[in-house]
């Protein structure tokens, strides 16, 4: 069979998407959220969590496994089964189906099909990542007729041990450049420092934003903080954050967690039969850049995010004023300002994000930024960027429901260098 994976909309001008309104996001399902897997409890492995999330999503949509004909997901790790870091496998394995990393710290669609007994699958794809891209990929697959009812899976694992620690005293390959000079999160710190110099601002002015995200996150039942650390996070907490790499403090970094989420997406036609109100995909666009030299500068960052923002506007035909629910990624808190300024949401221009943060960005105010709480408010699972806008547009966000209009949502992530944007609406357009 001819196998082609080039589904991305990344070539300017992308123009209005010819799949606009043909695919809808209907339902979401989440697993419990744990800090990490203990390496033993098979009912709490990433595979077990993924199955819980899929079943919850199916129930939410009011359909069964037999209604599903596509699975599109990230397997939760690098292709080829390379472990996410040195503490992730290889390990002693268990009896099937836990006899490989698949099901423990990664979850492929093929594994899910086998475990859950999907019978009618005609399209499986594990090659995408991260969640914004997966939603785009599924929307494209549905618009193209590759599948009608797709489960999108997004498992996010975490194991005991420090994240990404590297004990080696030699640097090889591309790592020779950063490692020889001890460069790491300093990359984000550097770019943000450039931003602060360029616009005369400073780290502490992000406090209102991070504090607000934490507040919002506590109102989302799947947030790590809501489940495990439900106290209030204050401005004092933020300002006392330990620097990791100037100007990036520990509270600007998201907390790795173990959680899985699944989404049901279907054709506009089939959407009518589902239990929840359909939210239509108006557009998806993607981008992948590379720095001019060793590192990503603030100029790179602004150029790339501008290109992607314009691409998204070009592909959806909307303007900044049309965006009711805006969910720009915050995997490091410093990202969000770049995105807000690129999109010009609520008229914010380059260098003005911190002033914007100083205004009213509360949930019930006029500018409810990241009403789901982002990664800062929920943990490093990223799925709140899909779930919260979905629930806002379906008017079932509960305590998080914003008070303004909630008809058009824009979700954007992951990095400036590599991003995807999804535009959704309550109408097919």
């Amino acid at each position: 069979m001819a196998r082609e994976v080039n589904w991305e909309r990344n070539h300017d001008p992308v123009g209005i998407w010819n799949g606009r309104g043909k695919a809808a996001l209907i339902a979401r399902g989440h697993s419990p959220t744990d800090r990490r897997w203990d390496g033993e409890s098979l009912d709490k492995s990433l595979g077990a969590f993924m199955m819980i999330a899929v079943q919850n999503a199916l129930d939410d949509a009011g359909i069964t496994i037999d209604d599903v004909d596509g699975i599109i997901g990230s397997a939760g790790g690098q292709p080829g089964g390379a472990p996410l870091s040195d503490v992730w496998g290889p390990r002693p394995y268990f009896d099937p189906p836990y006899d490989s990393e698949d099901g423990l710290t990664h979850v492929t669609g093929q594994w899910l099909r086998q475990q859950m007994g999907f019978k009618n699958i005609k399209y499986i794809n594990n090659h995408g990542d991260p969640i914004w891209n997966l939603i785009g990929q599924a929307a494209q697959a549905i618009a193209d007729g590759r599948a009608e009812t797709v489960v999108v899976t997004y498992p996010n694992g975490n194991l005991p041990g420090r994240y990404h620690q590297d004990p080696t005293n030699e640097a090889r390959g591309p790592a020779v450049w950063p490692n020889t000079w001890g460069w790491g999160l300093s990359g984000q710190g550097f770019t943000f420092n450039q931003y602060c110099q360029k616009y005369g601002t400073n780290h502490d002015r992000m406090a209102p934003f991070v504090v607000q995200e934490r507040k919002n996150g506590l109102l989302w039942e799947h947030s790590y903080y809501a489940q495990h650390e439900p106290g209030e996070f204050t401005e004092e907490d933020y300002l006392n954050g330990r620097m990791i790499a100037r100007d990036l403090s520990i509270f600007d970094c998201d907390r790795p967690v173990l959680a899985a989420a699944a989404y049901i997406m279907t054709t506009a036609e089939k959407a009518k039969d589902m239990k929840q109100t359909p939210v239509y995909i108006w557009d998806h666009t993607e981008s992948l850049f590379s720095p001019r030299s060793l590192v990503q500068t603030i100029d790179d960052t602004e150029e790339w995010t501008d290109i992607q923002a314009q691409r998204s506007y070009n592909g959806s035909g909307i303007t900044a004023d049309d965006i009711d629910v805006f969910a720009p990624y915050d995997g490091f808190a410093v990202f969000t300002q770049y995105y807000i300024e690129a999109w010009g949401w609520r008229g914010v221009k380059r260098g003005e994000a911190h002033d914007f943060y100083a205004g009213d960005i509360s949930l019930k105010g006029p500018n409810p930024l990241n009403s789901g709480g982002g990664n800062m408010g929920t943990g490093r699972m990223r799925t709140v960027f899909i779930t919260d806008p979905l629930e806002q547009l379906q008017n079932r966000a509960g305590e998080r429901q914003i008070t303004g209009r909630a008809e058009i949502a824009v979700s954007h992530g992951v990095l400036p260098v590599r991003a995807a944007t999804v535009v959704r609406s309550t109408t097919p357009g």
Partner: protein, 143 residues
Amino acid sequence: MARPIVPVPDPATQPFWDACNEGKLIVQYCSVCDRRQFPPEAACRDCGFNFHLTWQETSGRAKIVGYSITYDSRLVQWHPLQPFLNVIVALEEDPVINFHTNLIDDFGTNLSEEPDIPIGATCEVQFVEAEPGRMIPEWKLVK
């Protein structure tokens, strides 16, 4: 008979060549996709992962798919054997998987007359020495 060109294994293909030395023809198999894969690759082309990628012994039986005869190769080492037969066989249990063969037992090289290549005929694998210590799969017609 020494072969004109011998294969040099690499990490991805080493298990295949080692099995040849033991008289076994193996191909990759992804148990979760239920799919064979040859030539060997780092990951399953379907799911994109190596989690369930193992090696599976084949029946060693195949059917002739088609052929060519090389009269003028760019591979200089093969020149003395011209013209020689190039046959493709497909694994009996999974015709998607195919192999090269020169059918050396039946037709030899330096073909002097038109070979009779029965498309669809059954072959079985045999292992021949490409150089001392290096066996490679070849195929012969099942009479």
